[in-house]
């Protein structure tokens, strides 16, 4: 997808993608060593009754779902940044996540004629259609016809 292909009226839905407990534990043990992410037994008696995915795991899964769908390596130049992330509900083992992506703004670069900036608003929702995370992402995307 080139810069010109992102339509602000469109909604892209990716998934579902099921989260399993083993991967939640693996990510937690490497990057977010808190028992709610690393210890199934102790987490059973904790605030969520189960382990939950690290919020940073959910962002990584978001990227996994974006690459090859809404972002393609031939045209996605770089992530410019993130405007905000909210983790609104825990992600539990067995959750089936869908990523809803809305390009909300496209703007040609003023200084680099080969690219444009796309602002994406994203929602990760679970199998109950409840939002578990929102992310605002800015990305540079290649233009189909480089402007001279």
């Amino acid at each position: 997808m080139y810069f010109e292909d992102y339509e602000c009226a469109r909604v892209y839905t990716i998934g579902p993608r099921e989260m399993d407990e083993a991967e939640i534990l693996r990510f937690g043990r490497e990057f977010d060593r808190q028992y709610i992410h690393t210890d199934s037994e102790r987490a059973e008696g904790g605030p969520f009754g189960s382990v939950i995915a690290s919020g940073w795991h959910t962002t990584a899964i978001m990227m996994q779902m974006l690459v090859g769908t809404v972002l393609q390596e031939e045209t996605a130049i770089a992530g410019a940044g993130v405007e905000g992330i909210k983790w609104t509900l825990p992600v539990l083992p067995g959750d089936k996540l869908k990523l809803i992506v809305k390009p909300v703004q496209v703007r040609a670069s003023r200084t680099k004629p080969d690219r444009g900036l796309v602002r994406f608003e994203m929602e990760m929702v679970n199998q109950n259609e409840v939002v578990v995370m929102t992310v605002g992402l800015l990305g540079y995307v290649r233009r189909r016809d480089e402007q001279k």
Copy 2:
């Protein structure tokens, strides 16, 4: 560290933490399947002359560095959200990253007497003291003395 322990005048520095190529490739292959994160040989001829860490890997490493230092699972209740992330420079294999954490605002919760909100501004810097990523993070932290 309880809510009352975060001092806005203080700067917490964590690391250095060296990034190695194998872990950059492993994260890229799982979560961010673009050749600059997954294929050393092809990335040599790419824009950075080497693989670079996925930006989401750098955020996961940030969390890895925070847990047990500035955030402790006994007192850190939840991440409330992220205000912004900027990836300002590529992270390369062999980079030695340091995380500089500044609590810039502390505010007692109006509705939950057991906690307060801490706003952290963070910079990840490399061995040349150049900023590779900035993150604004909001977290709920337990109060030492619950307010009645």
